[in-house]
């Protein structure tokens, strides 16, 4: 395997890590106004992702940095081409990130309601737009001979792009609902399970339609397999959550997200950003990559440090493996006889 191919796979892995992990963060944020009946519920939901959401977001930053380093031409064309879409994503991620920290800092219902709304939009918009963006990357965008994007924001809002967006939005919401059912107790857990089954009614057909549409246009034997397995994992997840097997259900949606990203990147290969203007203008693994030395250096860094990161992030999930209870967040009842 040559180095540009290795880096294409590594970038796919980074995006997979991002979507599997921040996917459920987004889902929890989207469900916040619907499943959180009172402030304690909502705090439980936010604290369920509290220790990990920031670390999960670093997968995005590293994916961006890795793309810059390994495929500068891809990074340049993609980020400048998707300018306004990325602006919306950035604003959403900014507002969402500070909301977690600021929400509990003033004891006022109005204050908290405002930040709850910010968390909802800050989670829903990226969940939708990342799907739109990746569908368009696979579909191809107008690129001229210099690799410069010649479309506008509306170019991205085509039916296939929107289908991709709805698929990720519903899939992440489902992933988040199942995560909540796995991490909480009592009524909230029951509500999360009911919600997961309800969301599945939308998520299963949307994800299946998106995968089918992708395979219809870009089929490869290998990705036909990953797409089919993604669909199987999704249905298995829904079946598991209905049976109360939340751990298996979470594994199911995680595998669904993983295989969906694998399918998209597999379909994209060997392009990285196809040009809909002329096939000759397409950016490929070969013509968009950095030179051998830079890739070699980065390969050593990635091979040594990615396992370390996985180890300590995995350990974080182990430390916070216990389900949250309402009593964790409510102050203990005052001891009689004391002020």
């Amino acid at each position: 395997m040559n180095l540009p191919t290795f880096w294409f796979i590594l970038i796919a892995v980074l995006w997979t890590g991002y979507f599997v992990l921040e996917g459920f963060d987004f889902g929890v944020g989207i469900l916040l106004p619907f499943l959180g009946r009172d402030n304690t519920d909502r705090r439980m939901m936010i604290n369920a992702i509290g220790p990990v959401w920031d670390g999960n977001e670093v997968w995005l930053i590293t994916a961006g940095g890795a793309t810059f380093a390994a495929f500068p031409l891809w990074y340049a064309s993609l980020f400048s081409g998707f300018y306004l879409a990325l602006l919306v994503i950035l604003v959403a991620l900014i507002i969402r990130g500070v909301s977690f920290e600021f929400r509990g800092k003033v004891d006022s219902d109005r204050w908290r309601r405002g930040w709850d709304r910010a968390i909802f939009f800050g989670s829903a918009l990226p969940a939708l737009l990342w799907g739109v963006a990746f569908a368009n990357i696979l579909r191809g965008v107008p690129l001229n001979a210099a690799g410069v994007y010649t479309g506008n924001l509306l170019t991205l809002l085509n039916p296939y792009g929107l289908l991709g967006g709805l698929a990720t939005l519903s899939l992440f919401t489902l992933h988040g609902a199942i995560f909540l059912s796995l991490k909480t107790t009592g009524e909230l857990r029951a509500r999360a399970r009911t919600a997961a089954v309800a969301i599945a009614i939308a998520a299963v057909p949307l994800a299946a339609a998106f995968l089918a549409a992708s395979q219809f246009e870009h089929a490869k034997p290998a990705t036909d397999v990953t797409a089919a397995l993604a669909a199987v994992a999704l249905i298995a997840a829904v079946w598991a959550v209905r049976r109360g097997r939340e751990g298996w259900a979470f594994a199911g949606t995680a595998v669904t997200v993983l295989l969906t990203v694998a399918t998209l990147f597999g379909d994209l290969w060997p392009n990285v950003l196809p040009s809909s203007t002329a096939a000759a203008y397409s950016l490929t693994v070969r013509n968009a990559s950095s030179a051998h030395y830079a890739l070699l250096v980065m390969t050593w860094v990635a091979v040594i440090f990615t396992p370390v990161v996985l180890l300590y992030q995995g350990w974080t999930y182990w430390v916070f493996r216990k389900r949250l209870r309402r009593s964790d967040l409510q102050p203990p009842a005052p001891v009689p006889g004391q002020p």
Binding site: V52, A69, L90, F100, V309
Partner: protein
């Protein structure tokens, strides 16, 4: 305004804003880790309260620093795609390393610190804040290595077929003399700022006589850090000046608005009148000082703007190679001036609090509270100086700013994004500032005496 000018303004606004929060994160992460270590070593609950008090302030600040940091990484591609295409092979490497080696460490272990108070053993919990602090300081190294490559490109060649920069030595990039000088300078300046922040928060309480046991200790700590960091910032800045004189003589000349090569060269504290090389109306000058700064020799030769310009035209072809002189001239002085004032404030504070004393009048406390903008301004001026002083280049001697901007992005798109970022950032600054002030005023409650048997309530939970 052109796309180029708009993109430059946006980059300037977002970067300076981002760097309001970054230095406090850099310095305060280490100070909070130090406070928690003191608690563990001395078993004195005052240090635990100090850790929690400044820890909460640290987290409010950290949140804004993190979210505005994502914009920084995306902007290179969004607004400077021609730059990104040209330099990605070299410049991308430290950025990717920053994510993989530093940001993961910082954010993962900070999550563990925030939520792990009752889940991890005290020693392990202490290790998490140290790892987060190390991650933060490491991230500064990688991003400064990237920036230093723009100031003084090393370890690369221009690809004969691609006509793009290609990395030839990662060791050269990471041991660039420019980053070896810039990293300690930025880190020490960040400690100056974090020290001033701790001093200001403590002074507010001491002026009201509240919780003096805790805040006197915190203030002494802040003052010592400020003074040591202030001195170290000056020393490292001095080293940088000589590097700058040899690597970017135009920037050195522009720092003084020195038009003609001089030996010895004096340094002006103020100038009234034009900085355009004509006759100045009035100035206060220190003889020999610029020669001394630039060459370590009071009679050393410092090249003038006009001389460097002529040499650059010969080397790089026709064009103007002068930065905006009033900006470089004033930002250089104000950086030094604000930094020195902050250091003097620390010296004064240490004298007034010597041997268990507390200042009686309120004036010192007022000065300490209102002195907090000094290091912030010094840091902003430092960045404005070093980035504006490099103009017209993005990569010195290799790529000009005018050739770096995204060709496909329209002016209206940049106007939209700049407006959105400016308004959003202003709102965030107002909210974060208000939250910090109200947290400082609230002080830190006494530690509860009785811990419940199974207390899983996280201290800083959301």
């Amino acid at each position: 305004m052109s796309v180029l000018d708009l993109s430059r303004w946006q980059f300037g606004i977002t970067t300076i804003y981002h760097f309001i929060f970054v230095p406090l994160t850099i310095g305060l992460s280490v100070l909070v880790a130090g406070m928690q270590t003191a608690w563990l070593v001395k078993k004195d609950p005052a240090y635990l309260r100090m850790t929690k008090f400044f820890g909460k302030l640290f987290l409010i600040n950290f949140a804004v620093g993190v979210v505005t940091g994502i914009v920084q990484e995306f902007q290179f591609g969004m607004n400077w795609s021609a730059y990104s295409r040209f330099v990605g092979d070299v410049f991308g490497a430290p950025l990717a390393m920053e994510g993989l080696l530093a940001f993961f460490l910082e954010s993962t272990f900070l999550g563990l610190w925030i939520f792990g108070w009752n889940k991890l053993s005290p020693r392990l919990h202490l290790a998490t804040i140290w790892l987060a602090a190390i991650g933060t300081n490491m991230s500064a190294y990688f991003i400064l290595a990237a920036n230093s490559w723009m100031q003084h490109p090393v370890g690369y060649r221009i690809g004969p077929l691609t006509h793009r920069a290609q990395l030839t030595s990662i060791v050269a990039l990471l041991t660039n003399s420019t980053v070896l000088a810039a990293w300690p300078h930025v880190i020490f300046a960040s400690f100056l700022l974090a020290g001033a922040f701790v001093v200001a928060a403590s002074a507010w309480h001491l002026a009201r006589g509240s919780d003096t046991g805790l805040f006197r200790r915190a203030m002494r700590l802040g003052l010592v850090v400020m003074l040591a960091a202030g001195i170290a910032t000056s020393v490292t800045g001095d080293v940088q000046a000589r590097l700058m004189d040899s690597q970017q003589p135009m920037k050195m000349a522009a720092a003084e608005a020195l038009y003609n090569t001089s030996a010895p060269a004096s340094f002006s504290l103020f100038t009234i009148g034009s900085l355009s090389g004509g006759k100045e109306l009035w100035s206060v000058r220190v003889p020999y000082l610029l020669s001394l700064i630039a060459t370590l020799n009071p009679h050393g030769t410092v090249q003038g703007i006009n001389n460097v310009q002529r040499a650059y035209v010969k080397k790089y072809g026709p064009g103007s190679y002068k930065p905006v002189i009033p900006v470089t001239y004033w930002s250089f002085r104000l950086m030094i001036g604000f930094g020195l004032l902050a250091t003097l404030l620390a010296l004064l504070g240490l004298w007034l609090t010597r041997r268990g004393r507390l200042p009686r009048g309120r004036w010192f406390y007022t000065a300490a509270v209102w002195g907090v903008p000094l290091p912030y301004l010094a840091l902003a001026m430092g960045w404005i100086f070093t980035e504006m002083g490099r103009q017209p280049w993005t990569v010195f001697g290799v790529l000009q700013t005018s050739q770096s901007v995204s060709p496909g992005v329209t002016a209206s798109s940049v106007i939209i994004s700049m407006t959105v970022f400016t308004l959003l950032y202003a709102t965030l600054a107002a909210i974060a500032g208000r939250l910090m002030i109200s947290h400082i005023r609230a002080g830190e409650p006494e530690e509860p005496q009785d811990f419940a048997a199974d207390q899983s309530l996280p201290v800083f939970s959301y």
